[in-house]
């Protein structure tokens, strides 16, 4: 049985005037420790799908199974990282990264030490008592990663977490996230519209078409790219080939 099973998801948004089908007939599985990217034009329901998988949103139809059981938000099964850090500006970094533990009543000396240890490991030693606004964008997004990982989620949702950063910070952070996830052998799903990022970070890339969103094509990343860090992968010759392939597919999806 697969680690994560997404079974036949349909989702429709209703407004007074319209009923918009955002997702249609989405089924796939993800294995434990795998890194999967959802790539697609804007408005293809990528974020909706992430919200459904993390059970923030109930799908109109379909089911999500994590290790054979339905996902529940109260068990902290799924960690979610947003486009921006959304660190609470009135809380110190320490309070921010311990928030998840506090909310789920898991805060004790051991989990606290683990979270602080992770903060140090990710290169943010000594900022515990600072407020988020005293940190740079990249540092804040790293703190947000620590916050997400602190509750030890089995599955990680990354909703364009690098899109608000400058290019250099983004490349560095891709490496760091990739390395951290490998270390803790986390399963992750990344939503992005950056083809390069998807290729460099993932084991598999799902290309979604829009209106309604469905899985158009699945690309397996070649073994030699998977082994490399995202930064190294970007310089590998296989990267260019697969970039061109995905680029063409994405072009063909663009509405004319």
């Amino acid at each position: 049985m697969s680690f994560l099973q997404v079974q036949d998801i349909h989702h429709t948004y209703f407004t007074k005037a319209t009923a918009t089908t955002a997702l249609s007939n989405i089924s796939f599985t993800v294995e434990e420790g795998e890194f999967v990217s959802l790539l697609g034009p804007s408005g293809c329901g990528k974020t909706t799908l992430l919200s459904i998988i993390s059970s923030l949103l109930k799908p109109t139809q379909g089911e999500i199974l994590l290790q054979g059981k339905p996902v529940s938000p109260s068990k902290n099964d799924v960690g979610y990282m947003l486009q921006q850090d959304y660190l609470f500006p009135w809380k110190t970094i320490e309070e921010n990264i311990l928030l998840g533990l506090k909310l789920s009543n898991q805060l004790n000396d051991k989990t606290k030490a683990a979270a602080l240890q992770l903060l140090q490991q990710i290169g943010l030693a000594g900022v515990e008592k600072q407020l988020p606004k005293q940190l740079s964008g990249g540092m804040r997004q790293r703190a947000a990663l620590v916050r997400t990982l602190s509750t030890e989620p089995k599955l990680l949702m990354l909703d364009e977490p690098f899109s608000a950063l400058d290019y250099q910070t983004k490349l560095k952070l891709e490496d760091l996230v990739s390395q951290t996830l490998d270390e803790y052998s986390k399963t992750a799903i990344l939503v992005t519209h950056d083809i390069g990022e998807a290729i460099a970070m993932s084991d598999r890339v799902f290309l979604l078409s829009s209106k309604p969103g469905r899985i158009y094509k699945i690309f397996e990343m070649p073994e030699e790219l998977r082994k490399l860090s995202p930064f190294e992968a970007r310089n590998h010759e296989a990267y260019q080939t697969i970039f061109q392939t995905i680029w063409k597919e994405l072009e063909s999806l663009e509405p004319r």
Partner: protein
């Protein structure tokens, strides 16, 4: 290198100096306005260019102030009005915030009460004065209620709006951690709305004074509002002006205290 550093230090010193000088000029003009206003008033009144019976004069007010401090009657009236205003102000703000929280908690309730809030907000609350006085007996309860009722609806509306405008992504973060609705309120909604609540407090300081003074006009037994209405009835306008000036001073103090609270609470 050292030369450069000295140069920068010198420039910084100049900059600080210019700030100091500017501040001094501002204070100077503020003092001028104050002096011109009161001495002008005194001169106009002494020379009978304005009717001293109606406009009184600063010296008369000052003398009345001293005698009223000596016989203790000012302290009693001031104490009464201050207590009523502070209680009315706190009650109004607290009740308004709690109502806002209830509306946020239940979207259904907020939809139901929406038109009633609009009506209540549009209605001049002081018009309820006579009813309150009869219903709650003339005295503290009815006056404090006046002070509270005048600010409660506008506080509810303003604070509820700010609750709704909190970035939903903060709630999303909390929900991914399995937060309950109460936890969402406590961790995100309320702290994110502190600045709005504080600015509501500032508005409420002024409103509560209005409510209490009008209440005292109607009840007419003690307090600064009573001093005004009494002075008006016996045609002692020195008394009226004394009361007005005391109100101005204490309303300002209250406002400054809220300002101080703001700086304490919001560390930015």
């Amino acid at each position: 290198m050292n030369q450069d550093k000295k140069q920068v230090e010198l420039l910084h010193k100049n900059y600080l100096n210019s700030l100091k000088i500017e501040k001094r000029w501002v204070r100077f003009y503020q003092a001028i306005i104050f002096i011109v206003f009161f001495s002008g008033w005194e001169i106009l009144s002494r020379n009978q260019w304005i009717d001293p019976l109606i406009f009184s004069s600063p010296s008369k007010i000052w003398n009345l102030l001293l005698s009223k401090i000596q016989d203790g009657s000012l302290m009693t009236d001031l104490g009464v009005t201050l207590t009523e205003t502070i209680l009315g102000f706190l009650l109004g703000t607290l009740a308004g915030t709690i109502l806002a929280a209830i509306l946020w908690w239940s979207p259904m309730l907020s939809k139901i009460f929406d038109p009633y809030l609009v009506i209540l907000n549009a209605m001049p609350k002081v018009a309820l004065g006579p009813v309150l006085i009869v219903a709650l007996t003339p005295g503290y309860p009815s006056i404090i209620t006046m002070g509270a009722i005048i600010s409660v609806i506008i506080t509810t509306i303003v604070v509820y709006t700010s609750f709704k405008e909190v970035d939903p992504n903060y709630l999303k973060v909390l929900q991914t951690f399995g937060a309950t609705r109460f936890q969402c309120f406590k961790e995100a909604i309320l702290p994110a709305s502190f600045p709005t609540i504080i600015s509501a407090l500032k508005v409420n300081v002024g409103l509560s004074w209005v409510g209490v003074i009008v209440g005292e006009f109607l009840v007419s037994s003690k307090g600064l509002g009573y001093m005004i209405i009494y002075g008006f009835q016996v045609f002692n306008f020195t008394l009226v002006f004394l009361s007005l000036l005391v109100i101005a001073v204490f309303a300002t103090i209250m406002y400054q205290l809220v300002d101080l609270l703001e700086k304490k609470l919001i560390k930015e």
